[in-house]
């Protein structure tokens, strides 16, 4: 068992007794539980840093503080200073995410272990004692190891969203957490780290996480995404939340994205952007499930199966006329759809007596109406009676709740 801070005080010695100073250790792939140290960096006198594969190491003498190598043959000059990840320069003192405890902390020291001649990064020491050990150059003699955090549950970020692109590897165990928890973790780290973290998530998870982040943070993080990732995330987000982001971008950039989004999702966002933010149109979503009025339930069910997979809000199914302008005629709940007889039509089953909102109503008033009605959503209808979208209970709560509570309001329909 070795702590990096101790190891950094070791000297490297070859068979001829030539000693050099160890300056850093380079890691191999970071997508394993316990990354392997592949190279060591050393410097002799004031010369440039050189790299030697770790396989050249014969043994480590802790008492004499020496790392024995066969010879310095095989050492190279450092050609790409940025790569790979280096333990002392990059990981030590860096911000790390402790996924077990869902917190952000700093790597005050690193625990390395030799297994079959290979050196693995095993854990991070986040205790205050580790800092004092380093400051006063003391050795590690602690029996209690509760302050060591298993590297398996640590996500190491570099603070550079482009690192994800340049092929730097990540553990990605964080992808097992629900979006809400990831968003909560990102709130405690600098925005560049947050953007990096989201960039390494699968696109759908990144979109879901972005949806639950605070609006200011959303924008900061989104603007750091590379173009392809940003487009994919916008496409996968709920259109109302995507419209919020696009509505805050610089006009040229917004136009650029709107022209490159897939047609269907791009159109949904454009439709929502037509309404000012301080109106019902500004808080509604237009990703809703509709069904033709005269369809038999038996036929409606298989037809809706595919449609039900995508939108966030599927609790209500809106019955609309077959002919343009596709006027709204009534609503069916998901339960009604499942329990109705096959030969009944949608029109027979639906409830035609609806409360409906106009897109230019005040959102606060609409929020209260929805909460008072105890319904999960209210439809928004255009001039000619056509269905424009719905205001869900999530949107209503965020209009009515005090500011501080809004971020914590549950997102029922996402």
């Amino acid at each position: 068992m070795l702590m990096l801070s101790e190891l950094m005080r070791f000297r490297v010695i070859d068979a001829n007794g030539d000693t050099t100073k160890l300056t850093d250790l380079a890691l191999g792939k970071l997508d394993t539980d316990y990354p392997l140290v592949t190279h060591m960096l050393y410097r002799q006198n004031q010369e440039v840093e050189r790299v030697l594969p770790w396989s050249a190491v014969k043994g480590i003498d802790k008492a004499k503080r020496l790392i024995g190598v066969e010879s310095y043959r095989g050492a190279k000059e450092l050609d790409t200073p940025g790569q790979p990840v280096r333990l002392h320069r990059d990981v030590l003192d860096a911000l790390i995410l402790d996924l077990q405890n869902r917190r952000t902390t700093r790597a005050n020291d690193l625990w390395l272990e030799q297994k079959k001649g290979q050196l693995h990064l095993m854990a991070a020491d986040t205790s205050a004692r580790a800092m004092f050990r380093r400051l006063f150059r003391r050795g590690y003699h602690e029996k209690d190891r509760s302050h060591l955090y298993d590297w398996k549950y640590i996500e190491f970020l570099r603070g550079d969203p482009e690192a994800v692109e340049t092929g730097a590897r990540y553990h990605r165990r964080i992808t097992r957490l629900p979006p809400g928890e990831i968003a909560h973790l990102t709130a405690t780290i600098p925005y560049l780290h947050a953007a990096e973290l989201l960039s390494l998530l699968p696109e759908q998870l990144a979109a879901d996480t972005l949806e639950v982040m605070s609006p200011e943070r959303q924008l900061q993080v989104f603007e750091e995404f590379d173009e392809a990732f940003a487009l994919k995330v916008l496409e996968l987000m709920a259109p109302d939340l995507a419209a919020d982001i696009v509505g805050h971008l610089d006009i040229e950039l917004a136009q650029y994205y709107l022209n490159r989004l897939p047609k269907a999702s791009g159109q949904r966002i454009v439709d929502l952007l037509k309404y000012p933010a301080n109106t019902v149109g500004g808080i509604m979503t237009n990703d809703v499930v509709t069904v033709p009025l005269h369809l038999k339930i038996g036929k409606a069910r298989p037809a809706l199966r595919e449609k039900l997979k995508e939108p966030d809000f599927v609790y209500f199914i809106y019955a609309v006329e077959e002919q343009p302008p596709h006027r709204l005629r009534g609503v069916l709940s998901l339960r009604q759809l499942l329990t109705a007889e096959d030969d009944q039509t949608v029109e027979e089953m639906m409830n035609p007596y609806l409360l409906a909102l106009s897109p230019f109503d005040s959102p606060t008033e609409a929020g209260y109406r929805l909460l008072n009605s105890q319904l999960a959503a209210l439809p928004v209808v255009g001039k000619e009676g056509e269905l424009l979208g719905t205001v869900s209970i999530d949107a209503a709560v965020s209009q009515v709740a005090p500011r501080g509570w809004r971020a914590q309001a549950p997102k029922v329909f996402s």
Binding site: G82, D93, L95, R103, T104, T105, R106, N108, T126, A128, M131, R134, L135, G159, P190, Y191, L192, H193, E216, R217, Q220, E223, E224, A243, G247, H248, I251, A254, Q255, L258, N259, K263, G266, L272, L273, K274, Y275, P276, A277, N278, T279, G282, E321, R327, L328, R329, G330, P352, Y353, L354, L355, A356, S358, P359, F360, D361, P379, V381, K383, G385
Partner: protein, 462 residues
């Protein structure tokens, strides 16, 4: 019969004439025409930053607070002492240092926007644990001294009102502690800021006192260097109180806190510049007002807050002392809350421990411990009987001046790190101004320390 809302839920939805109400967008909504996929669409949801003056006013924030907190008890004491003792002679320092302050504050703001991280954070990540503890130690010493001076300011203001400081200082300490931890600090901060507006009385007083403007101009643009020990001591004090390590820490973390991203940094510069110019204009008028009243009347020493308040007499007459007390109280309370809070934030951030007023003692012991400890320490020390208040205030600013070059080295090295800053790296002009400031302050500090050593050795007579 009038009807404001159609009978929804009472008739089938398609039979309703829904659009008797709200069928138009609310007034004042601007729409933008964009070309999307070859079609021109009118969009209304775009968030447009306000134009004109309002836009610039909205940008003002951390810079203004940092600089208002800079004109605190220690600041007033130093500016007043400089004006009373040397008249207009030291104004040139303020003119030069306005540029330095603007440059330094802007660099910190830029560091915050480009990295999203605080100053101590960056020092730890780039220079390692040892240097970050060193920087933390410096900030700690400097900030603890200032916290004490804020409570001295609160005590002095209380006595001008005729209330015992033994009552006001503990009450103020508890109040600040409670408001920050349990109350809505953002709201209280505005009250403190409004109280500091009282210092606008200084420019008025400076004009009404009819100073010799020729002399003022001479003091401002013709640097004089007096090797008198007190002159150099006050010069370093002026540097230290105007560019305080705390202000850099605060400017950077509030830029981060406000969510300024590197892509939108450009206009944010104005905040740092405006804050620097605004605060130094007030400081210069403090010197002019004091010089035109106390110095002219032959009173070259300021013994108490009441003396300093007399500089406001040309503007406020009998009310000078009350006015001065209100401003002093506001500035001291503002800095008395901001400083311990910013220190606790920065230290917790650097050490990687939980932070934030939304947590509690159990979850963030270090953060709350530091915050509480600093306020307690400040209040208790400020109540020590017989503490020479004005001397302490000026001495703390001198200490700040001594520590400042060390912080400047960190800032200048960080801001020239291309990997960290990308295209927001320092330009050559900024480097010249930044290192110029460093040289200016270091020279002043070396001369001051040197002359004190020489005095102690008896080479220069006292």
């Amino acid at each position: 019969m009038t009807q404001t809302r159609p009978p929804e839920g009472l008739e089938p939805v398609h039979e309703l004439d829904l659009f008797q109400v709200h069928n138009r967008p609310p007034a004042g909504q601007v729409s933008l025409r964009l070309n999307i996929r070859g079609r021109s669409v009118s969009l209304r949801r775009f968030h447009r930053p306000p134009r004109g003056l309002l836009r610039w006013l909205l940008i003002l924030g951390p810079g203004l607070i940092a600089s208002s907190a800079g004109n605190d008890a220690g600041g007033i004491a130093t500016y007043s002492s400089a004006g009373a003792r040397f008249g207009y002679d030291l104004i040139w320092v303020m003119v030069i240092i306005t540029i330095s302050l603007a440059v330094v504050q802007e660099m910190c703001s830029r560091l915050g926007a480009a990295t999203g991280r605080g100053l101590l954070d960056l020092i730890r990540e780039r220079f390692g644990l040892g240097w970050s503890f060193f920087a933390m130690g410096i900030l700690f010493i400097a900030n603890s001294g200032i916290v004490v001076s804020e409570f001295l300011g609160i005590g002095a203001a209380a006595e001008l009102f005729g209330i015992s400081k033994w009552l006001v200082v503990p009450v103020a300490a508890i109040l600040l502690w409670y408001v920050v931890i349990f109350g809505s600090y953002a709201w209280v901060e505005r009250i403190f800021l409004v109280m500091t507006l009282v210092f606008f009385a200084y420019p008025v007083a400076a004009i009404l006192a009819r100073p010799d403007w020729g002399e003022v101009a001479k003091g401002a643009f013709l640097p004089t260097l007096d090797l008198d020990q007190e002159y150099i001591f006050l010069l370093v004090g002026l540097l230290g109180t105007t560019i305080t390590p705390f202000m850099q820490l605060f400017q950077q973390s509030s830029t981060v806190e406000r969510g300024v991203a590197r892509r939108h940094y450009g206009p944010e510069k104005v905040d740092a510049y405006a804050g620097a110019v605004f605060s130094n204009l007030i400081s210069i008028t403090m010197i002019i007002a004091t010089a035109a009243t106390l110095h002219r009347a032959g009173q070259t020493r300021i013994e108490s807050a009441a003396d300093a308040a007399r500089a406001l007499e040309p503007a406020a007459g009998q009310a000078a002392s009350t006015l001065f007390a209100v401003g002093l109280l506001g500035a001291s309370l503002l800095a008395g809350a901001v400083l311990p809070l910013a220190t606790a934030y920065a230290v917790s951030e650097m050490l990687g421990t939980p932070k934030g007023v939304s947590l509690d003692f159990r979850r963030a012991p270090l953060f709350f411990g530091l915050f509480t400890g600093l306020i307690f320490f400040g209040a208790v020390l400020a109540l020590i009987p017989g503490l020479p208040v004005l001397e302490w205030l000026v001495a703390v600013q001198v200490l700040n001046g001594v520590l400042l070059p060390i912080m400047l080295i960190f800032i200048l090295r960080l801001i020239n790190d291309g990997q960290l800053m990308g295209r927001l790296k320092n330009t050559r002009l900024y480097n010249v101004l930044g290192w110029g400031t460093f040289i200016l302050i270091t020279t002043a500090v070396v001369i001051m320390l040197g002359s004190q050593v020489l005095t102690m050795l008896g080479i220069i007579p006292q």
